[in-house]
């Protein structure tokens, strides 16, 4: 069990969420290869069934802290203070270390029925009243099959279950339940296990990851090679945007369609965005889903880490959502090619998109979750550069039951002083909004809307657009004149906070009409144009100051 300690510590450095192993065992297993606590400390309830060992059983019944103390005392007597020091440091080296606790299933049942049954069902079969609206579907606990686990076999540790309850599952409807007390969460772990008690008879087996490889240019290069060799792109796409050719065929073990992960959006990874978490998913797969285990299916064991480093290089850990969209001032012409250098030099404002759930038909599981916005203007026109991921390029083809991919920018027709703005969902009867909409296969149109079902096209289009689609991503430039000819369309002016909202449709996912993802009002602000005066005035001031100083010195010298 010495490897378990070493593994636990190295894993632990990556943060408390990466605590994949059996932390309770770390304390008690340093000195003995055959210690029964190697799995028992996380699963104290199972100890009596295990082989009798030198640890005092009563301590186990009273909880892990006592067990740890007992273990530490024994080590003190056996190996001396040096080893105890090592053990203590190993325990406290892990920030936010949480020891596994024995939960009370009966107490957990009460919490479960109050907080969990709505989605997971009273019987734990994942068929709660809310389940039909959710994608992915809530976990069916009766199958005893868990996606996220740190173990080499199919049984998750209590710690794994506790972590999912505590941190939730990003990109799904499962929220973090830190709002519940720690004790309640441990009780839930105990209760959830009772839905598939026979599956938990087997002890969790710690997954031994290969020796960690730090990220470097070479490692990322090797990771990319391996990514291609093991054909990750079949599902995850060439650039990792979940647009691989097998995407449409993927189903989970319950027969529900399941999309592959978008590897450029680590913050949506179900099991967390950290290094150890990603390496663990690669090594032992995601149970119940098409994601297979790769630990024995890479050329060399350390390729797991090269792959991890490559995946980490595909996108940021967090989207850093924007609050304000700055429109850059430029004096030259604005390129309408979405891949032009101009756009590469502007940092994007990432805007989160939500499902439209106010008007029927609603969109509870929006396909587009983020639009990256860049914008620039010159003395004549303003241009918006929009980037968003869509794994399925689709145009309006009713014969194939496909709708068009589309995106829209929404502005109030006139900017007024004060906080009053039209209703964010395409305006209402009293206050209209101006929409610039681009649709794949149709191009750009302008419209006045008094609500999502009252959209009237504006004749005499002022806007133009150019789009490219590649590897699961749209890049689009929409341009229009800075000043408008009529009152249905806004005029953009520098240094004014201009309300803006976004709407997007993934036609391949069946989105059209009110089935869309959208934002509430954001603000954009045109940078004030930078005049040449900043290069003229400071030197003039400096020269004048110098002249005055010289004058003062001269006058003083004369008097003296």
């Amino acid at each position: 069990m010495i490897p378990a300690l070493v593994g636990g510590r190295s894993v632990g450095r990556a943060g408390p969420r990466a605590q994949g192993g059996l932390p309770g065992s770390a304390c008690c297993s340093t000195n003995r290869d055959d210690h029964p606590l190697q799995t028992g400390a996380t699963l104290p309830t199972r100890i009596p069934a295990g082989p009798p060992g030198p640890a005092a059983p009563p301590a186990l019944a009273l909880g892990v802290d006592r067990a740890r103390l007992a273990g530490a005392r024994r080590i003190l007597s056996l190996r001396g203070i040096a080893i105890a020091g090592l053990v203590v440091s190993s325990l406290f080296a892990v920030p936010g270390f949480v020891g596994a606790q024995a939960g009370d299933a009966a107490a957990g049942k009460t919490v479960y029925e109050r907080k969990c049954a709505g989605c997971h069902g009273e019987k734990g079969d994942g068929k709660g009243p809310a389940a039909e609206l959710l994608a992915p579907k809530p976990r069916d606990f009766t199958a005893g099959l868990y996606k996220i686990r740190s173990t080499a076999n199919k049984v998750p540790t209590d710690q794994d279950l506790f972590r999912i309850i505590t941190d939730g599952m990003p990109g799904t409807s499962m929220p973090p339940w830190r709002v519940l007390g720690e004790k309640d969460r441990w009780n839930l772990v105990a209760y959830v296990k009772t839905f598939a008690a026979d599956k938990f008879k087997e002890a969790p087996k710690k997954l031994e990851l290969p020796k960690e490889v730090a990220s470097s240019t070479e490692s990322i290069k090797r990771g990319k090679e391996m990514f291609e060799a093991i054909e990750c792109h079949k599902c995850h796409g060439t650039e990792g945007r979940a647009d691989g050719p097998s995407r449409a065929e993927l189903k989970d073990e319950w027969g529900h369609p399941i999309p592959p992960a978008n590897l450029t959006k680590r913050w949506t990874f179900r099991g967390g965005p950290g290094r150890t978490e990603i390496a663990t998913r690669l090594a032992n797969g995601v149970l119940g889903t098409p994601m297979p285990a790769f630990l024995d299916s890479v050329e060399k064991p350390e390729d797991i880490w090269h792959l991890t480093n490559f995946i980490l290089s595909l996108g940021p850990e967090s989207p850093h959502y924007a609050t304000l969209i700055q429109v850059m001032s430029t004096s030259g012409p604005i390129a309408d090619d979405p891949n032009a250098d101009l756009w590469k030099n502007i940092a994007p404002a990432n805007v989160p998109m939500m499902g439209q759930v106010i008007v029927d038909p609603r969109n509870f599981n929006p396909a587009i979750d983020l639009v990256a916005v860049r914008a620039a203007y010159n003395d004549k026109e303003i241009a918006f550069h929009l980037t968003w991921d869509d794994p399925t390029q689709s145009a309006d083809e009713p014969a194939k039951k496909l709708a068009a991919d589309a995106i829209a920018l929404q502005f109030p027709p006139q900017v007024t002083a004060g906080p009053e703005r039209p209703y964010f969902l395409m305006g209402d009867a009293s206050d209209a909004v101006y929409l610039v909409r681009w649709e794949n296969g149709k191009g750009v149109t302008e419209a006045t809307a008094n609500g999502p079902t009252k959209i009237v096209p504006i004749q005499g289009g002022e806007a133009s657009a150019k789009a490219v689609y590649a590897n699961g991503q749209y890049r689009l430039v929409i341009k229009r004149p800075l000043a408008s000819k009529d009152t249905a369309r806004p005029t953009f002016a520098p240094a004014v906070f201009m309300p803006v909202a976004f709407q997007a449709w993934d036609g391949g996912a069946g989105e059209s009409g009110t089935k869309m993802s959208l934002t509430s009002w954001y603000y954009l602000r045109l940078e004030e144009p930078q005049s040449n005066r900043r290069f003229v005035i400071p030197p003039v001031v400096a020269v004048l100051t110098l002249a005055v100083m010289l004058l003062v010195v001269r006058v003083a010298n004369r008097r003296a």
Partner: protein
Amino acid sequence: MRKVIGAFLAIALVAGVAVVAHGPGPAGAQGGGTIEAAVTYAGAPVVEKLKVNKDTEKCGTEAVIERVVVGSNKGLAYAVVSVPGAKGAAKAVKTTVDQHGCKFVPHVTVMTPGELDLKNSDDILHNIHTYSTANPSINKAQPKFKKVMMEKFEKPEMIKLTCDVHSWMQGWVAVMPSPFFGVTDANGATKIENVPPGKYTVEVWHETLGKQTKDVEVKAGQTAKVAFEMKK
């Protein structure tokens, strides 16, 4: 005393020759009988076709999912006929299933509990995803450079094999408790040899049409015929 030893030697020798003569067949079946099974299905074949959007060089442009294959005289292919009650040692031959042309070959693999070699002769990524309950279910990637993987199936069970990369790939591994089994050919026929004499319940299983059983008496040196008519 010598005579006794001599007699034992003679018996051992005869037994040894008999085993060798039978080759890798189930041991302990000398003087056994044969079961000839004919499995028919009156309904129409069930075949799904799918347009292939990747790996067309290996998989072809059209994938065919054969759920019910009916040959001449209504013969039902890929039905597993077995004699669960017959006792005998397992074959020493290792069982292999190949992923070839984006298909599991053979479509139905029958084995006694033990090891199964999973070959990938396609030079592209497949993943072995099993749906099993008695045996641990697995989902392991088998990239192009991983030519053979070995898996253990210790408990009798009908295990569905799938590949998530190529969703039309479906195969079965039938792990049988006894070594007396056969898979029907394109005409719905199979033969189980060297079955120790006795009264047995013969079982037939088909992936879509389910199970049936019939009682059969096997006599030494004789052929017992059994016919199954599968229904939906």
